[in-house]
Amino acid sequence: MTTQVPPVETATPGVETERKTYLNVTKGFMSWAGTLDHKRIGLMYLIGTSAALLAGGLFALLVRLHLWEPTGMLFDNAEYNQVFTLHGVFMVFLFVIPAIPAALGNMILPLQLGAIDVALPRLNLLSFYLWVTGAIFAILAIVAGGFDTGWTFYTPYSLYTQQAVGLIGMGVFILGFSSIFTGLNFIVTVHKLRAPGLTWFRMPLFIWALYATSILQVLATPVLGITVLLVAIERLYHIGIFDPRLGGDAVLFEHFFWFYSHPAVYIMVLPAFGIISELVTVHSRKPLFGYKLIAFSSLAIAIISFLVWGHHMFTSGQSTYAMFAFSFLTFFVAIPTAIKEFSWVATVWKGSIALNSPMLYTLAFLIIFAIGGLTGVILGALNVDIHLHDTYFVVAHFHYVMMGSIALAFFAGLHHWWPKMFGVMYNETHAKISCALIFIGFNATFIPQFIMGSRGMPRRYATYVPDYEPYHKASTIGAMVLGVGVAFMVYYLVVSLLQKKRAMENQWGGVTLEWETPTPPPLENFSKPPVVTNEVYDYSKLDLETTITPAK
């Protein structure tokens, strides 16, 4: 297959007019606010989720700054509770869950499938507005006095605290439906809108990962919906289901919550795996090692993830035998996950590795995710978990996955598809510096947390005994470096949009369908429907000309 170089439209001979792309085809506020185009919706999601990331990051920096001194620097205890809750809620519900599927996925999935749009474009727009509504509820809840329950809303505390838990509960309920609709849309799109010749095993692995994610979004999120709804009903009407004083059961809440929220961890991380699968092959210019195994391991993770929620509750009081099962099944998740990690490393091996900034982020991911994943296995062991439960060790573990792996994969994907989305290229040197700052800052933040966690520093405390001071200080310095790295990234990405240095038609030499259309894509993606005749990641079919042709 060859990439079509777009014809230059000339109004008068010799005068080059701007090619019509999805970015400039129509203008005005309503052409964006009422758009049904998946790329525009993806872009709006990208702006929204990035804003949530920056807000959540700011809260994180405030938390770290507060913990500089053992007695706390900035807040009283109640304010501290609010700030870390805001950090958790913004990051989990407004950034991590929607960022990769709804922003990058929306942008790339139909392109990689060779489709004009997602199957249900109006539902896609509705999903975005539900996200906006959820975000407004979150902001209203802050204005109405904030919330201090942590992102997990554990009962009975969440039933009695005099803060705006009802509002944020409704926000989470609405965000849940936003997530469900994105997942539902992707499942239908993958089933019904694949280009001719694009069989299941010719699909790029980003699609496979998004497909597995979507199944989780559709099947797990409703349970969170009913759970937060019951908390809201409980707060208003005191029906007593989660309230021990009325004969209810707080552990039942935990079961409900984690039945969603454990699969939700994979809703967050599977799309990240998808990005990494895509990037290791493109930037090593070598077909993926173990393509089918990676595809099936996504599905295996999706299925097993429904059976491990009890490992969040080893100290909450559940049957010993259930705990054995949950612990064992937790170890079991490590198998498909390790299959992925090994396959990625084997893909890079003897590849023609280009150390572009997306690849640097990818390599950083591989290192960080190995640590994040293995510490998860440590926490899955029953006896060890009793010691480590609710300590900074847990905090460090899930930040290695949530921030170190997912956010880094998001950045990797963003850098990889940035030239595709906008037709412009950022400053690669800046990108490499920022990647280094993020990698160093991230590890400096969380390695001390592993150490102090294993020595008993409990999470969510506003103050601490002075013995932990060196670790907290190191962690805070790391967080500041990380913050500078992210701020720098935002800076050069925005600058790239202003400077408009043209990217290449096929910047990295990818062979999946999104590179078969002009950069940036026209409104309906493909001037004629693509037909897939070759196997996935077949780099012998790459038209090298396109990698040195500037985008129009």
């Binding site: 085809v25 129509t26 052409s31 009422g34 758009t35 049904l36 185009d37 489709a115 004009i116 749009d117 997602v118 199957a119 249900l120 474009p121 539902l123 469900i180 539902l184 849309n185 499942i187 239908v188 799109t189 089933h191 019904k192 809108l193 559709v218 099947l219 797990a220 999120t221 409703p222 349970v223 919906g225 009913i226 759970t227 019951l230 009903i233 208003l236 009407y237 005191h238 029906i239 007593g240 289901i241 004083r245 009325l246 004969g247 209810g248 059961d249 039942l252 409900f256 409104l523 309906e524």
Partner: protein, 244 residues
């Protein structure tokens, strides 16, 4: 938005009283559009089942914890009214199915009639439900006007559960059955109202002639939704009225 509509397929209207349907621009064929929407809608129904699944899990859990409140509480419900409502919903499911059939065979008047009958069924259901709720409210088993009253954490006295006639006297956590009963049937009732609203929306479309043998997708989907609402009630009725 100015889409290229060079590949938009138009399904012609079967008669002058109907309107043609334009297949959405990103689909190649009407079949693809139909199947996509249907698959999406089944997935949505799965999320509805899981949403209620949480409530059913709560039901079974507390049934196990406090069997007595379910035995004594269940006896306070009128199984005759519940049974009547089950019949009403089952009948309305039949009229809905007939409505879908009428749309498939381009019978505009029949479609309107059967949809109207289905909405009537929904209304009868809600009226009966109202009188059931009112009876419970009058007996102090679930006082709707007191639901926002909070409660005295010292005595644990709930303003919405005063149990005027003492039917639940001595039963530990007697309010729990009614809490679950009203939550489950309340959320179900909300679905009945939404379903009726959707059917009325279908009737507006049908009056304009939008639905016919060539295009009856929305009728089909709303029909599926209505059957789900019916199906959930079929589980709620025995669990709440009969099992205790």
């Amino acid at each position: 938005m100015s889409h290229d509509d060079h590949h938009s397929v138009v399904i012609p209207a079967p008669g002058p009283e109907f309107k043609p349907h334009t297949v959405a621009h990103h689909f190649d064929t009407p079949v693809q559009e139909f199947q996509s929407a249907k698959l999406g809608f089944w997935l949505f129904l799965a999320t509805e089942i899981l949403l209620f699944g949480g409530l059913f899990a709560a039901y079974f859990y507390f049934h196990e914890q406090y069997p007595e409140t379910f035995v004594v509480g269940g006896k306070q419900l009128d199984w005759r009214l519940g049974g009547l409502n089950t019949c009403v919903l089952l009948l309305s499911s039949w009229t809905m199915a007939m409505g879908v059939r009428a749309a498939q065979t381009s019978q505009k008047k029949k479609l309107l009639m059967y949809c109207g009958l289905t909405v009537l069924g929904a209304a009868i259901f809600m009226v009966i439900k109202f009188f059931e709720y009112k009876a419970k409210s009058d007996h102090g088993l679930f006082v709707f006007s007191e639901m926002l009253g909070g409660y005295d954490t010292a005595t644990g006295q709930l303003p919405w559960f005063t149990d005027i006639h003492g039917v639940m006297a001595g039963v530990p956590h007697g309010h729990m059955f009614f809490a679950i009963y009203v939550t489950m049937t309340g959320i179900h009732g909300l679905h009945v109202i939404i379903g009726a609203g959707l059917i009325i929306w279908i009737m507006f479309g049908a009056a304009k002639g939008r639905f016919h043998a060539g295009y009856y997708l929305p009728v089909d989907l709303v029909g599926l939704y209505w059957h789900l609402v019916d199906l959930i009630w079929i589980f709620l009725f025995p669990l709440l009225y009969l099992v205790p």
